[in-house]
């Protein structure tokens, strides 16, 4: 079960990595070698995270994105023996580069809901404004109280 999932994700990650490597080279002027190494490492971390998550889902159900991000964090953290290698080789991969392909896939997937999005248009703008404003004010309030209590201001 876990093995089949591993092979399946390996195949999908492989074809997706090719797009990401291409966009890295074209859009962000990376060298071919750096791009392949950087994206390759990120994909290995991703594949390991996905597989661990699949295995762990027998015991506890947690989002696989959490395993992936945690694995990346551990490998790059000060306690990791290979942190320099991981950080240097992936720092070349532009932070936003993987996301253009992601946007294209997401767009294709959302294509079947364009009508319902268009209908909600202005409502979404209002809602987004409230969400940003709420996050900002909430943080400002907590920060104000904590800074005052700790005597920083």
């Amino acid at each position: 079960m876990v093995r089949k999932y591993f092979v399946q994700q390996l195949g999908l990650l492989f074809i997706v990595s090719i797009i990401i490597i291409l966009t890295n080279i074209i859009g962000y002027n990376m060298t071919i070698k750096n791009s392949i190494i950087g994206i390759g490492i990120l994909s290995i971390i991703a594949l390991t995270g996905l597989t661990v998550s699949k295995f762990m889902s027998k015991f506890v159900k947690l989002p696989s994105m959490m395993y992936i991000s945690l694995l990346g964090l551990l490998l790059a953290s000060p306690i990791s023996p290979i942190k320099d290698f991981i950080i240097n080789s992936t720092s070349q991969a532009a932070f936003l580069a993987p996301t253009t392909a992601l946007g294209a896939f997401a767009g294709i997937s959302l294509g079947k809901d364009i009508k319902s999005f268009a209908k909600m248009g202005w409502k979404l703008v209002i809602l987004t404004i409230f969400i940003i404003a709420g996050t900002f004010l909430g943080s400002a309030l907590v920060a104000q109280v904590v800074l005052r209590l700790t005597g920083a201001i």
């Binding site: 195949g11 990120l42 490998l75 992601l102 294709i108 959302l110 909600m120 004010l137």
Partner: protein
């Protein structure tokens, strides 16, 4: 190898179009328009989402419903290396995290306030389960990953996150610089508290907010930028955990309580 062949056969059309879209838009790069009030920014990713969407069954009909769904299953795969990259950046900055101290960490919980404000609004505007995905967070990249992962690419919750993600990417920086001006003029918050608050989990919105604050309070401008940046980074690191364990459960619970009541209210008022 045979497996890869079958994957290619199934996904080739979606894949080729995505490659073409990505290559074209990445070579164009980020677009920015000055509209007087501030700058509207359109990242290649947002542009790609819009173009991809227009090719779908609702508009230009290049893809049918089935292919459109295949796009969804690739979203999750494309997100995985990106989340790895976010994790690595977080790990590389871990020591900075210890430096910035408890005030910043506590302040992260202030981000949860948006749920109580925006969820009722979303329900009044007529959103259903979309509101859960839309209102549990600021809807930046890591949240997008999280919602897609938990609910699946076709779930209403994921659509909610996506909608706010896209709108936020386009108008977020303008709105932040305007709103920060307004809040600063109230005079109730200390400039440093505002600086911390501007780190809401989006680099561009943070820069817009902290940059504007810096011009309002020049004597604090350096500290504001440092605190804003640290808080932003922290939101990037903690966002996925706060989202999984605190924000999403709270939002779902609140939704279950509020939805029936507001539905009743909306029917009575005759709002569409």
């Amino acid at each position: 190898m045979t497996f890869i062949k079958s994957v290619v056969r199934k996904y080739w059309k979606v894949y080729v179009v995505a490659v073409v879209i990505s290559i074209i838009l990445d070579s164009i790069g980020t677009l920015s328009f000055n509209i007087g009030l501030g700058t509207l920014t359109i990242l290649p990713m947002v542009f790609a989402t819009i173009v991809g969407g227009l090719l779908g069954p609702d508009t230009l009909k290049l893809f049918d419903l089935k292919e459109s769904k295949l796009g969804g299953s690739l979203v999750l795969v494309a997100l995985a290396p990106f989340m790895a990259k976010m994790g690595v950046s977080a790990g590389a900055n871990l020591s900075k995290l210890v430096e910035v101290g408890p005030a910043l960490i506590l302040q992260e919980f202030g981000n949860l306030a948006t749920i109580v404000i925006s969820l009722p609004l979303a329900l009044l505007l007529g959103l259903k389960r979309e509101s859960i995905g839309a209102c549990y967070s600021i809807n930046r990249d890591s949240n997008l990953g999280l919602t897609t992962d938990i609910y699946g690419p076709d779930a209403p919750e994921t659509k909610g996150t996506f909608a706010v993600y896209i709108v936020g990417s386009v108008i977020g920086t303008i709105f932040m610089s305007l709103f920060v001006n307004i809040v600063a003029s109230w005079g109730i918050f200390h400039p440093l508290a505002l600086g911390m608050a501007s780190g809401i989990g989006s680099g561009s919105m943070m820069s817009a907010g902290a940059g504007t604050l810096g011009t309002i309070y020049p004597e604090f401008s350096d500290q504001i930028l440092v605190l804003g940046g640290a808080s932003d980074m922290l939101t990037g690191i903690t966002g996925i955990y706060i989202g999984t364990f605190i924000a999403l459960p709270i939002t779902t619970k609140l939704y279950k309580i509020l939805e029936p009541k507001l539905e009743h209210f909306r029917k009575k008022k005759g709002v569409a």
